[in-house]
């Protein structure tokens, strides 16, 4: 059952990611990205991390992607006539980086190769357990991230409120 769900979601995620990169129409790419985010949320669900999965849908697919779509529609971007002009540097770096990433992940999988996932402990992935972990084991990283978000927010407000000469 979980295997079937995983296969369907994996196909959805990879296919929508390809559409995001390849499609010429920015609105189609944005909608494909939304599908991708929902698919990843489904993968979290398959891994019993239901709280993270639901938050992924609410925050990313429900709020952030709608904002991105909003901006694209306001700017009224048209279809790109030709591929995005990437520098030669990027053109060479991208395959190398992708290959390095694939080798790293592949070797890690090859070496660990667990026989099966360990059984899920009771209450795993619920809001209560995630909250407990956040406020005990991951307390300092959690606070650091909230500080980072506040800095980004203040920066955005300052930039948008700056009086132009």
């Amino acid at each position: 059952m979980e295997r079937i769900a995983f296969c369907v979601l994996a196909v959805l995620v990879v296919a929508s990611a390809l559409v995001v990169v390849r499609h010429k129409n920015p609105v189609v790419a944005a909608v494909a990205l939304a599908f991708n985010l929902v698919g990843v949320a489904g993968l979290y669900m398959v891994l019993h991390a239901q709280f993270v999965g639901l938050l992924q849908v609410i925050v990313y697919a429900g709020a952030i992607m709608v904002l991105i779509l909003f901006v694209i529609m306001l700017l009224n971007l048209l279809e790109e006539a030709e591929p995005h002009p990437a520098g030669t540097f990027q053109r060479w770096l991208a395959p190398v980086a992708a290959a390095a990433f694939a080798v790293t992940i592949g070797s890690a999988l090859w070496r660990s190769n667990p026989p099966a996932f360990p059984p899920v402990p009771e209450g795993f992935g619920t809001a209560a357990s995630v909250g407990r972990e956040l406020f005990t084991r991951f307390y300092y990283p959690f606070e650091a991230i909230s500080l980072l978000l506040i800095v980004a927010m203040i920066g955005a407000v300052l930039l948008s409120k700056r009086r132009l000469p």
Partner: protein
């Protein structure tokens, strides 16, 4: 595999969704009859007794109408948008408990389709995805009225989602659970135990939720996305026939879902609110009926408000959302947190 369990789930899904669709068709009739009463008219009264068969006549008419697709439309999204409006609206309803646990065929059946730990979040996630339908319908029609309607609706839904979610967070704080069945179970007993009164002291939260819910479902006085005077009919201007009807049904299902959420979170769910001298199946039926009656009352309130209040202006709408409801909902959350911390409400 547990075939009986799958069968029971299937029966629950079929029953809930056919009741929802029946509710939608009744609502289209109620809306026109009640608006007629409010405006001293008769309303549709020719098809069947009291015009009750009018929804069927409408359905037949919608199916017969020509399906027009604008020449410039972006066809895939244009065709998908009505479905994208309909599916999330129906999805959110799956976590609503509509009755007590009943014993049938020697096993306990929960009267909720999906009883999951993060059920409240599931409801948010489903409704959050409903925005895409309006945005994509507006964009893919390639019409300026549709586009403006789509943009307005996305701005409106994003702004009003914050007070909506914050007012629900206060309820979650009081209940100590994100599971709708547990939130309902805490409100058993008398009316005083409901979250809106003594059970959670959430009267302000309930008002905030209701107002924000009206904005989320694009109903008057917040129906700016389809303000006829300015935008023809907003994001679904270019739609005709059954596709238009699908948007229409999605709006009514959204109303039902948001009312059902309000009932579950604030108004005691399926609890009667007063003690009765019997138990067993008469009580189950009475409690399911209590849920239906509360839902119907909420739907009536929707119609009543729509035909009583005038429409907001767009800047007034944004002012109300960001400067009125949002600070109030944050204050409500802080106040509730203090009450819970001192053990005055909550468990």
């Amino acid at each position: 595999m547990d075939w009986l369990g799958i069968l029971i789930s299937g029966v629950k899904i079929v029953v809930v969704f056919s009741s929802l669709m029946l509710g939608v068709s009744i609502m289209t009739w109620v809306e026109r009859r009640v608006s007629a009463v409010i405006q001293f008219r008769w309303g549709p009264n020719r098809v069947g007794p009291w015009g009750l068969l009018q929804p069927i006549a409408d359905g037949v008419k919608f199916i017969q109408k020509e399906d027009i697709i604008p020449t410039d439309a972006y066809v895939p999204f244009y065709l998908a948008a009505p479905m994208l409006a309909f599916v999330p609206a129906a999805f959110a309803f799956t976590v609503i408990p509509f009755g007590p646990d009943i014993d049938i065929f020697g096993r306990t059946v929960k009267l909720v389709i999906l009883d999951m730990d993060g059920g409240v979040l599931w409801g948010f996630a489903a409704t959050a995805l409903g925005v895409y339908a309006l945005v994509l319908a507006g964009w893919s029609s390639r019409s300026k009225f549709s586009l403006m309607g789509g943009l307005r609706s996305s701005a409106q839904m994003l702004s009003y989602e914050l007070p909506l979610v914050l007012s629900i967070v206060a309820v979650v704080l009081v209940s100590g659970s994100l599971r709708p069945t547990e939130i309902v179970a805490r409100q058993a007993g008398t009316i005083w135990n409901w979250n809106v009164f003594g059970g959670g002291a959430q009267l302000l939260g309930f008002i905030l939720f209701t107002v924000a819910g009206y904005a989320e479902t694009n109903r008057l006085p917040f129906d700016l996305p389809e303000a006829e005077g300015e935008l023809v009919s907003g994001y679904h201007t270019e739609y005709s026939g059954m596709r238009f009807a699908t948007f229409f049904m999605a709006e009514y299902i959204n109303m039902m879902t948001s009312s059902a959420l309000a009932i579950t979170l604030f108004l005691g769910g399926w609890h009667l609110g007063f003690p009765v001298p019997f138990t067993g199946w008469p009580l189950w039926i009475l409690e399911i009926l209590a849920f239906v009656v509360k839902l119907a009352a909420f739907q009536f309130l929707y119609v009543w408000v729509r035909w009583t209040l005038p429409r907001f202006r767009y800047d007034q709408l944004m002012d109300l959302g960001w400067k009125g409801l949002l600070p109030l909902s944050i204050g409500n959350l802080a106040f509730t947190a203090i009450l819970v911390a001192f053990g005055i409400v909550g468990k």
